[in-house]
């Protein structure tokens, strides 16, 4: 399968899960008629995606004096970033170092990450925290506030030194509301909500020179020309790979991977996904939702149906998740309301540290409130939930993909974490690489706006036909398949 090798993977690349492979091999949503009728627009830098990486990229590019359009499928801030609970890694402790952070990250990813990206990530860490404070983000302190105060540091699974900085267990909320406000108030950033990208634009030399957006409010296509495009479209949890529930937001449907791949960008580790160990298994309405690693970091135990602990709760996420699945598979799980999992022993934790619920674990308090029970008396039932797309578009340390003019930052990119991600490295990644991509994209010459077109799509469609797949399903998916959505019908209505 030479033309469309996504399912097999050339040169020994492990194949992506079938639902993702099907999307990568899909046909375009867009046709020439839609393109001909599209409304033209221009930007110096186009950012696709309204989470933390997109916001950081937009702020960096606008800070360099560029006119930026940030287009997003849902609404600015509706993202996995806002849902992040645990915190952000940065090596600031006196016993810590950038080298320790580098070593932990590489080991946590089974020595499969791109070491140059990891070096960039950990080196940016402290400056990222300073930048966030400058924007007005709060971080928890060890003791009382004041000059000379120290940051509260928590230990992430799979690390050697406490390195997680946080705002209680709602770090992503605190980060995203600050970033969103900064973006929305910036005079050189235009935010376009409900405008998903449906295709990228290429020029004759194969560079990315813009994107076609679909404006859901006005039911029209927009032809947005820009000398630099930053993909910050996030991951793919809503594909429910392997039938797992997910902790991801509604829009995580692999759109960025599909667009980048069709354009010819190189992708990596597409078979590697992180299953967060402590997704809610019971109560059923909350299933798939996340219980922050902060709860285990604070000392909560995992207990099986025999009342036994079965794993060091603070090992790397993939190891803890596998241990839980093993307990369930070997009949030592707990069944409640038709759901199987293991206990997260919050009663034990809160008996040992009674004030945690009010001070550090406010997210847990809210979750228990929604669940309708008291976590001091009753434990949650947990099981792994699809949490993070480890792989993605190959990037260099400036965030540029293998396609000139096309950048990627955050979950849509690959190589920063390798085949497993440590807690707290995602929030660091989105700011570190988001800002790098934004600054580098801003440095591209803007003198000539290339006309751009979808010749790469025509080439792709010819390859589909040659492979006997001319009627391949269309993608990007845009929305999960819980209820039907047809772009054509929507645009025709």
């Amino acid at each position: 399968m030479r033309a469309i090798p996504a399912t097999r993977g050339p040169r020994g690349a492990p194949p992506p899960p079938p639902p993702l492979a099907a999307l990568l091999q899909s046909n375009a949503l867009l046709d020439d008629a839609a393109l001909a009728g599209a409304t033209p627009l221009r930007a110096d830098v186009l950012v696709l995606g309204g989470g933390g990486a997109g916001a950081a990229a937009a702020l960096a590019a606008a800070g360099a004096g560029r006119q930026v359009i940030l287009a997003t499928k849902l609404r600015m801030g509706d993202s996995n970033t806002v849902m992040a609970e645990g915190g952000i890694q940065a090596a600031i402790g006196p016993e810590d170092s950038l080298q320790h952070h580098f070593d932990d990250t590489l080991r946590g990813g089974h020595n499969s990450a791109d070491p140059h990206l990891v070096k960039q990530l950990v080196t940016d860490g402290p400056a990222v925290i300073r930048w966030l404070i400058g924007l007005g983000m709060h971080f928890d302190l060890e003791k009382e506030a004041g000059l000379g105060a120290r940051l509260l540091r928590k230990k992430a699974g799979g690390t050697t030194v406490p390195r997680i900085l946080s705002h209680r267990d709602v770090t992503g909320l605190e980060m995203m509301r600050v970033l969103r406000e900064a973006v929305e108030l910036h005079p050189r950033i235009t935010v376009m909500n409900r405008c998903p990208a449906v295709e990228l634009l290429s020029d004759d030399a194969g560079a990315c020179v813009g994107a076609v957006l679909y404006d859901l409010e006005h039911r029209r296509f927009l032809l947005l020309r820009s000398p630099a495009v930053i993909l910050a479209t996030g991951g793919s949890g809503r594909l429910h790979l392997g039938g797992f529930p997910t902790s991801n937001h509604y829009g995580a449907t692999a759109d960025g991977l599909v667009l980048a791949y069709r354009m010819g960008a190189r992708l990596r580790d597409l078979d590697s996904f992180q299953y967060h160990p402590t997704g809610v298994a019971w109560p059923a309405p909350l299933a798939g939702g996340l219980i922050s690693e902060a709860v285990r970091s604070a000392g909560a135990w995992l207990v099986n149906g025999h009342g036994q602990r079965f794993v060091d709760e603070l090992l790397a996420r993939d190891i803890v998740a596998a241990a839980i699945l093993r307990e369930i598979a070997e009949g030592r799980g707990v069944t409640r309301g038709g759901r199987v999992g293991v206990f997260l022993d919050t009663p034990g934790l809160l008996a040992r540290q009674p004030d945690l619920l009010e001070t550090r674990l406010t997210g847990l308090k809210h979750l228990a409130h929604k669940a309708g029970f008291d976590p001091r008396r009753e434990p949650f039932l947990v099981a792994p939930t699809l949490h993070y797309q480890n792989g993605g578009a190959v990037i260099d340390p400036q965030g540029e993909t293998t396609i000139p003019g096309l950048y990627a930052a955050g979950e849509v990119s690959g190589g920063v974490h390798g085949r497993n991600r440590l807690m707290g490295n995602a929030l660091l990644e989105i700011i570190s690489f988001g800002r790098r991509a934004g600054a580098h994209a801003a440095a591209r010459p803007v003198a000539a706006y290339s006309r751009g077109g979808i010749e790469h799509v025509h080439r792709w469609q010819r390859a589909l036909a040659a492979a006997g797949l001319p009627r391949a399903p269309r993608a990007p998916l845009l929305y999960p398949d819980y209820a039907p959505f047809s772009l054509r019908q929507h645009a025709a209505a």
């Binding site: 801030g77 580098f102 499969s112 992503g172 406000e181 039938g243 797992f244 309405p285």
Partner: protein, 238 residues
């Protein structure tokens, strides 16, 4: 972990069962699982949601704000659909996003003078002092924040207390919708939160580490075997 691991038996997105409860969402009758949230009911409805949906259950993005009337009640309440359980006979209307008429524009990088913070607050949010204590914001808030009191703390310059008061705000903008004085309480609260962090948070461990990095005392060495476990990448050759 291998992406192809068989799923645990209970896994999979919550789908509406054959027998469930019936409620009306934006004029359309929907059948939902008995324990579903309003948002889960809507997401598994007749057409894919393209708005008023984001984090899908965590209650942190503020997208799924809606008006809810329970069966047999006259009172309409504002809620987040993801945090409210669907009930038989419930009537739900999602609340659209709107282009705000009043914008309070500032650049946090220009808020540098802590002696003048109160003056700056009054200049950027001049309406805040005009609160008529109608309590609309408090009733509108789906998070139970004491919004009106928070506004008063901001105006009084009790910044730390005000910042704490808005700590759990998810910026759903319902208080702004409810405010007849155009105060935009959530943006006001966020301004105070941002200003207090940007003006006062100076962790000494971070300061010291930044200095070490600047002085070149924190190099990262890449060992020769680093990244040796990487799998090959893919690209199509069409």
């Amino acid at each position: 972990m291998d992406a192809h691991t068989p799923p645990p038996p209970e896994a999979g997105p919550a789908a509406a069962p054959a027998a469930g409860i019936t409620l009306v969402i934006d004029g359309v009758e929907i059948t939902a699982a008995p324990e579903a949230s309003i948002l889960q009911a809507a997401a598994h409805g007749t057409a894919a949601l393209t708005a008023n949906i984001g984090c899908m259950g965590q209650g942190v993005c503020g997208s799924c704000r809606c008006m809810v009337r329970r069966q047999g009640e006259r009172q309409v309440e504002t809620r987040l659909a993801c945090e409210t359980r669907a009930e038989a006979g419930m009537e739900v209307s999602f609340i659209d996003y709107f282009i705000p008429e009043h914008r309070h524009v500032y650049d946090i990088a220009e808020v540098t003078e802590s002696w003048g913070l109160l003056d700056q607050l009054n200049a950027i949010f001049p309406e805040a002092a005009h609160c008529r204590h109608c309590g609309g914001c408090d009733r509108a808030c789906p998070k139970g924040i004491a919004v009106q009191q928070g506004v008063a703390l901001c105006v009084a310059g009790d910044f730390d207390a005000a910042a704490r008061g808005f700590d759990e705000c998810v910026m759903c903008n319902l208080c702004t919708l409810a405010c007849p004085e155009h105060i935009r309480p959530n943006n006001l609260g966020l301004f105070v939160r941002r200003a207090t962090a940007a003006l006062t948070l100076r962790p000494i461990d971070l300061v010291r580490r930044l200095r070490e990095i600047e002085q070149g005392a924190m190099a990262v060495e890449i060992p020769p075997e680093a990244g040796a476990g990487a799998a090959p990448a893919v690209e199509h050759d069409a």
